[in-house]
Amino acid sequence: MINFHIIKTLVAKELKLFMKNRFFALITVLGMFFYILVYFLMPKTVNETLKLGIYAPTIPPILEQFQGEGLKLDSFDSEEKLKNAVLQGKVSAGIAFPVDFMKIIATGERPTLKLFILSNLPSEVKSAVELMLNELILMQTGHPLSVEVKQEILGYDMLGKQIPPRKLIIPLLAFILILTEGWGLATLIAEEIEKKTIQALLVTPITIRDIFIAKGITGTALAFIQVTFFLIITGGLSKEPLLILTTLMMGAIMITGFSFLIGSVAKDFMSVLGWGIIMFFGMSFPSFNILFPGAIITDWIKLIPSYYLVETIYRVINYGYGWKEVWLYLIYILAFSIGLLLLGTLSLRRRFQ
């Protein structure tokens, strides 16, 4: 039989100890502040357009047609102004057409174009601009290519609505907050085992189950409160808040289960640190997959429990997914959370019996 009064007292004791340690509390607040700061320092837009400057006394008609998605052309009155625009970084490169450009083209001669680039322009951009100019002139001189391109977009077409790094980093930062709290919980458990305070508690009417439940509630609550606060500030709860909060709550339970597992195998702080680092890197791997798409191409990533958690948060925040679209992921998260919590609890219980 679960004794709720004892659990309540134990949770209150844990939270009181947390709040009593002013330094600990201050550091937690400070950490939160820096996580939020990192979020706001990340770029809030994606620059997906190549901006080129043009100086053309006689503007080739094809120039206007060539402008479109991915390329923006800015015209300048003189070569000098064009150069300044390049130097000031207003355009990626500047192209100066000769005065008699159209005449040269008409005679079939090869015109010479001046390409102004900054010394730090990546070589691939320079090469791309040169290829573009070639293509432009070939189109102007009427050299059609006998190729028909059949294009198929795979996945959501994000053209013009790319997700900025600031939004991409939310699942990573949110998950790191939960993970670090879980790490802290594992440390607390290991410390109690090392100092034998758990054994001291067990001579009172408090049972092992009461202790685990209380610790689980404390760890989950602390992680959940912090991550919720983080998401409120960063706007991560603007879409489907209940769905996000449910996902995070299950995530916090999942990490609590992991913490119990670590606490059950770790002998001291050092081993908590060792196992914790493995958990930290392993579990944060799927977040990197979101931040850097294409980095991890193996399907093995789907075996990492956190994959479903960060994917759910990412899809809800950035693609507007709802309950209907992510229900299967939620079941996976729930299954992993319950499984890990049970495994962790059993493992810890075994250590004490």
Partner: protein, 353 residues
């Protein structure tokens, strides 16, 4: 102060610390991160558009694309793998070349190209890849470049590749992970177990203990810094200058560690400080990775004065003359930290029973 006693203490520290998991992790982590960043993220961060080709014939386009600077190329042996790679964002474009593509181009026969586009591919990448494929196809069909391009380079700054941008982060991690954790954990452990109180009743003084533990941090920190610079082929032409900088950085790390070890009572609090305060150390490296972050902010963080000269020496070939100002500030920070440490030890007198 007795040098012989300090060396004996240092030797014992080295023997006992090397047996802990933390020590091994401190040695392994920076190497692991270097490999991870270099192999996975180093290539991923490259801003070149990524083209994948599955060639059903033997088109020249493949060989030509290999030498084109405007894209990075990946070849596939079948249609399924190519499509999967596009879906996962490994490549921006997946191009299937028909069996007789080159002949069709030469004879002017209409030819169909199947292109898969990754939905998250940036507009400029799509444009660059499209233009490049068109341009290479034109070359195969025998159409020569219709223009001459005169490239004029402006400014004298160099583009910093992603592999170089992550170097400060890796260096800082190498120097600070060991430097901060080892002396602090050693001090806390000895305080908790009471062994430090046992030692100071012998002729060994507090200062000798502090110097021995700090020296271990400095040695480990420097050693890791050297290994990481070697692994990244970053020793350059100024090894002595780099060693001096690493030494100053190691002193900073070890002094911070001793301050933490003196003030903090348990590992949980140490862990919390690292969790939240770590970002104070790593902020300049983060700002270096993401130039969008206001760079002046980095100057407020002491590690800026360590990574800036290191980066300048490695990437810009700077020497003592260019590095002296940052080195002076770094030395000043070290002196200030040492003074603070001495005050803390004097005021708190933490090792008395």
């Amino acid at each position: 102060m007795n040098l012989k006693r300090i060396f004996i203490l240092l030797g014992k520290e080295l023997i006992y610390s090397s047996k802990s998991f933390l020590f091994i992790w401190i040695l392994v982590a920076p190497i692991f991160v270097t490999l991870l960043f270099s192999l996975v993220f180093g290539t991923l961060f490259r801003e070149k558009p990524r083209l994948g080709i599955f060639d059903l014939g033997t088109s020249q386009l493949v060989e030509m694309a290999k030498t084109t600077d405007s894209l990075s190329l990946k070849l596939y042996n079948n249609h399924v793998d190519l499509k999967k790679a596009v879906e996962k964002g490994v490549i921006d474009f997946g191009l299937i070349l028909p069996p007789d593509y080159d002949n069709s181009l030469i004879t002017g026969e209409r030819v169909e190209l199947q292109v898969y586009t990754w939905g998250q591919s940036l507009a400029k990448n799509r444009m660059i890849l499209g233009v490049t494929i068109a341009n290479l196809s034109r070359k195969i069909s025998g159409i020569e470049s219709p223009l001459k391009i005169e490239t004029i380079t402006l400014g004298d700054t160099k583009s910093i590749p992603w592999e170089d941008r992550i170097l400060p982060f890796i260096v800082l991690m190498a120097v600070f992970l060991g430097g901060v954790f080892l002396p602090a954990t050693s001090l806390i452990e000895e305080k908790n177990k009471g062994t430090i109180q046992a030692v100071i009743v012998t002729p060994i003084t507090t200062a000798e203990i502090i110097i021995a533990k700090g020296s271990l941090g400095v040695i480990l920190s420097m050693l890791m810094g050297i290994i990481i610079l070697f692994l990244n082929n970053a020793f350059g032409n100024q090894p002595l200058l780099l060693l001096t900088l690493l030494l100053l950085g190691a002193i900073m790390a070890a002094t911070i560690s001793l301050m933490l070890g003196t003030l903090i009572k348990d590992f949980t609090t140490l862990f919390s400080v690292w969790k939240s305060g770590g970002i104070l150390l790593f902020f300049p490296a983060l700002a270096y990775i993401f130039p969008q972050i206001p760079q002046w902010l980095s100057k407020l963080f002491p590690t800026y004065y360590l990574i800036t000269p290191i980066v300048e020496v490695i990437q810009k070939g700077a020497g003592w003359q260019e590095a002296w100002l940052n080195m002076t500030v770094l030395s000043g920070v070290d002196v200030l930290l040492i003074v603070i440490l001495l005050v803390i030890i004097k005021v708190k007198n933490p090792f008395t029973a």
